[in-house]
Subunit: 278 residues, 3 copies
């Protein structure tokens, strides 16, 4: 399948180039983000101080902004680093964790989007709806509106995703039971992954970090976003299959996801990827 | 056993309600706290910025305050969120990590206790003694005076626990080789767990997070505290039994504790819980 | 072998004394640093607030300063704690994470070195070269110039290490494929470890934490640095051997390193250590 070949090529490039991925992120899942970055073949650097983010981002192949535990100090660093990345044509991805849960998060997201040109935004449905300006309910940072993957609602969601991408001139990746990835023109839906991923903190953040790695390895933001979502989904579903359900749970599952990402290869991608193009 | 049934009922409610548990905590064990919250069936949100804690706590079913890596910024957020939780009748639990090790920690604990009405305080013996005003030695944040579980000393400790609960109008859970949980009237002692838990950072913090989940699922603070302590103890002792002692150590042990919490069920609680009521 | 006996003796002392190791470190790998400290037998305390570092370091057997995610607030705490440690003759180890990647990191390292007397500095080759004043390239915080372990280049590197130790009146540990540990007079090279360690975040930080534990257990800074490097190397190579390479990767590898450290013993050290004295 042609699209798989593009993902596989990008993964090969990633592993050859080991892009430095600068991540200004939260202190809850930062270790997992660093380890998943290393697992797939990138090189993470987590610097957030205003005194050094300009230099650090200049060395980097991509920039990940994640507002999971935002504060006034880190927000300034995010904006400053994002603007410099734009000047240097370094792609930037935003993870709007919990947008809608508090007005502070929503406002910070809007500010970042207005001041920084984003290659990709990855979030769950309620976060993306909030940013788009649709009334929705974000419950904390993990829970999310679920997709109704059949019928009208799903069609509307895809339409919203396209409009979102056009409005903000970016690629948007909405992840959930089914994922939607679009640049406003081409739209992919993917259905890898497993629902147990929602029982481990940071699977969304890790997905964003993995997209950040792919962004640092190539030129095509849409394929990078798709590759990240599919890679993370394969990691989740494969890890789930390898669990001894009688005694293993979310602790082992988390570790095995990182193992699968470490061993991700052409064979697995061809065997498992479930991608539809519309 | 009647008390087991209460715990089992609360666990069922927890899993049905998936309470949002707002945690203002430390950056050392925050990931473990989020993952143990998800493992038992809660939904964690770790927001600590003064600009959003009021809104975040308002969405939540309970609030966990953990001073493990306190600083002047986070302390203000703790107090502010705690007061709002009180207004909204959302239960608050305090983990006074390292109280007594430095005067700053002791003073912050006293300030929180004086300004926020606490549903539960969970700490080790030296932390609780410090707050109560008894001269003791807190060595860092992990080590603690051990219990002398026989004879006069233990009787005195239980008496102190009752007085502590009455003085501060709260439930107190003192965890160690034997655990004491009391609201000043009813007092439970429990002896689940394994001493290897002290070789993994954050088992105390995780216990507090689990109590936070139970607090968010029901109305009875004493049973919530007991359920949390027993659940964490069962996780520890079961994980220990499942270790291949020749080659596995504290790394695998930590992961297996989360696995056990994920799979915790009626059968395990009935089989393992060791609770005495006095 | 005499040197192994010194390491084994120090490990025994460590486990008997369970030194309290105060660590002012980064939020990426802090949990791993705490867990590796507990695994080898130390007691970690991660306090960084200016209001309490003086008291906390006074209770401690050693102080670890790690600039992985430095900021203006934590830098002041590092300096203040370091000076107090000096007054109290508590050994201090510096991990100059990413020195050279940004000028802020380089300057902070220089400031710490000028204001605090260091027992040990542990870094990779580019970090150490940067501090010494040799032009080099530090790419992020993980990557490092690799050693050319044969011929002239290696001889020059060892010479630089000796001069570094003399210039800064400290023990220096340069870790990489081959490690160099010297106080300026005696120089050890060691070659334990496995290259997969670079695919897990924080193996350098953990090595520094382990040296911190050994520093808190004895009087000989050179042997403490050597013991820490060799212990971490043994953890890495043993964990690698125990991997099921078909399905396990960096997630399992990380956990197994902590397991090996937990079970580290005389037999393993005698069987595995690869130390040369020059």
């Amino acid at each position: 399948m042609e699209i798989n070949n593009k993902i596989i090529k990008l993964l090969d490039d990633l592993r050859e180039r080991t892009p430095l991925v600068h991540q200004i992120t939260n202190y809850v899942t930062v270790n997992d983000c660093a380890n998943i970055t290393l697992a797939i073949g990138g090189s993470p650097v987590m610097a957030d101080d205003i005194n050094e983010v300009l230099e650090m981002v200049s060395l980097s192949s991509s920039l990940v902004i994640n507002i999971g535990t935002l504060n006034s100090r880190s927000v300034e660093s995010m904006i400053k680093a994002g603007k410099r990345a734009n000047e240097l044509k370094i792609p930037v991805i935003l993870d709007p964790v919990g947008a809608g849960a508090t007005s502070y998060r929503t406002e910070v997201c809007k500010r970042i989007i207005s001041e920084v040109r984003l290659a990709v935004i990855r979030g769950n449905l309620s976060e993306i709806k909030t940013i788009y300006g649709i009334d929705t309910i974000t419950r904390g940072v993990d829970a999310s509106e679920s997709f109704d993957v059949s019928g009208d609602e799903f069609t509307k969601t895809k339409e919203m995703a396209r409009k979102f991408a056009v409005k903000f001139v970016t690629v948007v990746a909405i992840t959930g039971e089914v994922d939607i990835i679009t640049d406003g023109k081409i739209l992919y839906t993917t259905s890898n992954g497993h629902k147990m991923m929602s029982r481990v903190t940071g699977t969304g953040c890790m997905c964003t970090a993995v997209i950040g790695c792919y962004l640092g390895a190539g030129e095509n933001n849409l394929i990078a976003a798709l590759a990240g979502v599919v890679s993370m989904g394969i990691a989740g579903e494969t890890a789930y299959e390898r669990l001894d359900k009688k005694i293993e749970g979310s602790g082992t599952f988390r570790m095995k996801m990182i193992d699968v990402m470490y061993n991700l290869c052409e064979v697995e991608i061809n065997k498992r990827s479930k991608i539809n193009e519309e």
